[in-house]
């Protein structure tokens, strides 16, 4: 069982909460047919690509086993690994900051930017800064943050919200992207077509001057090596390289779970990650830096190590492997629920199967409507199969459903329909002879089904079932009864 945990983030959690129950959010999103078409197209494209490049490696399963063990061993010795990282990063001229929660991380970053005198920053896509709502916060502090990743740019220009951890604008198709660019990019060519290559070129032109003049950049990190103090960013477009190389000041915000014990671990992670995320053998660019390198790249280098609920996840022995996540997005790309609802339905920065476990684990199951997230799955297991670090997402979903039910027990005095159903079911299914007794009522169900042998409408919570499905008439006799009549009497 989960231990009593007192490390609840004291301040703001940032963007980790579902504010309306998932079924209601899903209902709304399902009505957006254009979004569903776009998502279906994109997720099916990436599924095929992933399978092809994963299939090329004869040792994929061994890599997954290694990846899973590496992450577990990092998490189980997290304190030592973080201290080791801090020592090495500091020794090479970097500065380490620690942030208990989103609010604290935001103020640290603001103060670091203020020290440089800059009021503008360029950003390379980072889940951690998305999670803490850094851009919104900086805006209130008079600092403008420019997203430089193409999909982030589309979201930012479109005044939209990200719906995917890797491709935040996955819910938009090329024509919609073109329309956003035409409307929101000041210097855009009015004859811009919706060809992806042309759209990419428009983004290049739009951001070029920013990159070349930026004094401060903010990044996330895909990993931190404890044994050397090295940080790595995995990207495609070169916007990462621009941010990590050209400005004078580089501030990285990274969750504490991103630390890897040994340099050699990247030989595993860098095979797992690109194949699982964009379905490429390797992403176009990966940058690694260790503190400050004299005469090459930023000379003022910081990292903010962010907790924001991660230590809470660690305290749940059934849920802690969620911290192994390397944010590849494979689980959402293969998820039949995500494919239909899109990422906005999950409320939090982290959508899809990983979000359905990570958000409630980070905040606690009782925060807002996060308790509806673990039910947003048919438990088909496609996520577990795809996960490069073998996080058993379905099992953690079930575990969190248990946490939810237990937390509700004391709350409502009158049991819900589901409570009654489960209690009754527990009695019936808890003994063969109870079941035998209840099965005597099967003919009644036959009666209810009537002549065409179909039940078309059920009351209460079961109405959801009969909204689009019939139930067949039950048989006249259960198997159990048939067996005692046929086999045991002979």
């Amino acid at each position: 069982m989960t231990q009593v945990f007192l490390g609840m983030p004291a301040g703001g959690l940032g963007n980790l909460v579902e504010t309306e129950p998932f079924p209601a959010a899903a209902h709304r999103e399902l009505g957006n047919t254009q979004m569903r078409k776009n998502l279906r197209h994109a997720t099916h494209t990436i599924r095929d690509k992933r399978l092809r490049v994963v299939g090329e490696l004869p040792d994929w399963e061994q890599l997954r086993d290694a990846g899973s063990a590496i992450k577990n061993s990092a998490m189980f010795n997290l304190e030592e690994r973080l201290l080791e990282f801090e020592k090495n990063f500091t020794a090479r001229g970097g500065v380490v900051h620690w942030a208990r929660d989103a609010d604290e991380a935001n103020t640290i970053v603001r103060d670091l930017i203020r020290e440089t005198g800059s009021t503008e920053v360029v950003k390379v896509k980072s889940m951690a800064t998305q999670e803490i709502g850094l851009n919104e916060y900086l805006e209130t502090q008079g600092i403008e943050a420019f997203e430089t990743d193409l999909a982030e740019l589309i979201v930012q220009l479109g005044h939209d919200k990200p719906s995917h951890i890797l491709v935040p604008a996955i819910h938009k198709n090329r024509t919609e992207v073109r329309d956003i660019f035409l409307k929101e990019m000041p210097d855009v060519d009015p004859a811009l077509t919706d060809e992806p290559a042309k759209l990419a070129e428009a983004a290049r032109k739009h951001l070029r001057a920013k990159f070349l003049s930026a004094k401060v950049a903010i990044s996330g990190a895909n990993f931190a090596l404890a044994d050397t103090g090295t940080l790595g960013v995995v990207e495609s477009e070169g916007n990462g390289r621009m941010c990590l190389t050209l400005p004078e000041t580089l501030i990285t915000v990274m969750g504490i779970e991103k630390v890897l014990p040994h340099t050699d671990d990247i030989e595993v992670m860098m095979q797992l990650l690109p194949r699982s995320s964009t379905g490429e053998r390797m992403n176009p660019y990966t940058s690694m830096w260790t503190g400050v390198t004299e005469d090459d790249g930023p000379q003022n280098v910081h990292i903010v190590l962010l907790d924001n609920g991660r230590s809470r996840v660690l305290s749940d022995s059934f849920g802690r492997s969620a911290l192994n996540c390397i944010r590849c997005s494979a689980c959402m790309n293969v998820c039949p629920v995500y494919e239909r609802t899109g990422g906005h339905a999950y409320g939090s920065t982290y959508p899809g199967p990983i979000g359905a476990i990570l958000s409630p684990l980070m905040t606690g199951i009782e925060v807002e409507k996060n308790n509806s997230l673990p039910y947003a799955s048919s438990l088909c297991g496609a996520c577990f199969d795809a996960c490069p670090v073998k996080i058993n997402i379905p099992e953690i979903l079930v575990h969190l459903r248990g946490e939810d039910v237990d937390s509700q027990r004391d709350k409502h005095k009158i049991p819900t329909q589901m409570d009654l159903l489960m209690k009754g079911g527990s009695w019936v299914l808890g003994k063969g002879k109870n079941m035998k007794l209840v099965e005597k009522a099967l003919p009644l169900g036959r009666l209810a089904a009537g002549k065409n042998k179909k039940i078309k409408k059920l009351p209460g919570i079961a109405a959801g079932w009969t909204q689009s499905r019939d139930i067949p008439a039950p048989p006249a006799q259960s198997f159990r009864d048939w067996w005692s009549a046929e086999k045991e009497s002979k």
Partner: protein, 254 residues
């Protein structure tokens, strides 16, 4: 061999034919089938709905009924229930801090097989027509249920058995590996998403021109069948066991 049948609650109460078919197939091969009378349910509905304390008596009951020396192997005509017995019972015992239950549940799980697993891996069936006398002169398609495919890694065992049934035509189901949207109480708690998944499954089945969709899990088949029935679509659903039990003399009706 002495084989203990775990009928599963849904087959026992709603689809007794499928349990009878399972018995028929195994007896045809010369094995003795027993039905441990105390059995009821694997408990996954409770566990998957988060009702762990309520699941406990159900799981304990199953372990009690099957933790005996009275049989060699146990079989169930359901990938999902077998996956629950093999994996989820130990998980529940762990979660509720019951090491003794965990040990017994794990032992029962090791001896429990899904029907196609038993037929192919233990009993060496490679040709249903020749070895089981299976005959079913219809065009079918096949939906591989998620838990059999992903948790038990059944691969093509069920499909391969179906393909070797006499008189049968098997049309490939587009997007076969996609979940039908059942997911137990998922279909009740998230009816809209579940229905959207079911719609796609129903459309894919209809596109094959088959007169029946076969599968290895009665619950998924009930879900898919309920959707087909509601839309007035022609194809029916049929359990793998019923098709394998069907013979030239006694052909199962659609």
């Amino acid at each position: 061999m002495r084989i203990a049948l775990f009928a599963t609650c849904i087959v026992d109460a709603m689809y007794p034919q499928t349990a009878k078919s399972t018995v028929k197939i195994l007896e045809r091969l010369g094995h003795e089938v027993i039905f441990p009378a105390g059995q009821a349910c694997c408990g996954q509905m409770h566990m998957n709905s988060g009702y762990m304390p309520e699941a406990l008596p159900v799981v304990e009951n199953h372990v009690r009924a099957f933790d005996t020396d009275d049989y060699d192997v146990a079989v169930a005509p359901s990938g999902s229930c077998v996956a629950s017995v093999k994996h989820q019972h130990a998980f529940l015992a762990d979660r509720l801090g019951k090491p003794e239950l965990k040990e017994r549940a794990t032992a029962v799980g090791k001896r429990t097989y899904e029907l196609s697993q038993l037929l192919v891996d233990v009993l060496g069936i490679t040709n249903a027509a020749e070895q089981l006398g299976s005959y079913f002169p219809e065009t079918i398609t096949y939906h591989p249920s998620c838990h059999g495919m992903r948790l038990l890694k059944l691969g093509d065992r069920q499909l391969d058995l179906l393909k070797t049934v006499g008189g049968i035509t098997v049309n490939e189901l587009p997007e076969a590996d996609q979940c039908c949207g059942f997911g137990g109480t998922f279909s009740i708690k998230n009816p809209d998403v579940s229905s959207a998944m079911l719609d796609d499954k129903v459309n894919n089945i209809c596109s094959t021109g088959a007169s029946a969709c076969a599968g290895g899990d009665a619950s998924c088949l009930m879900h898919i069948g309920g959707g087909l029935s509601r839309t007035g679509a022609k194809p029916k659903t049929l359990h793998l066991a019923d098709i394998l039990a069907s013979t030239m003399e006694e052909t199962v009706a659609l």
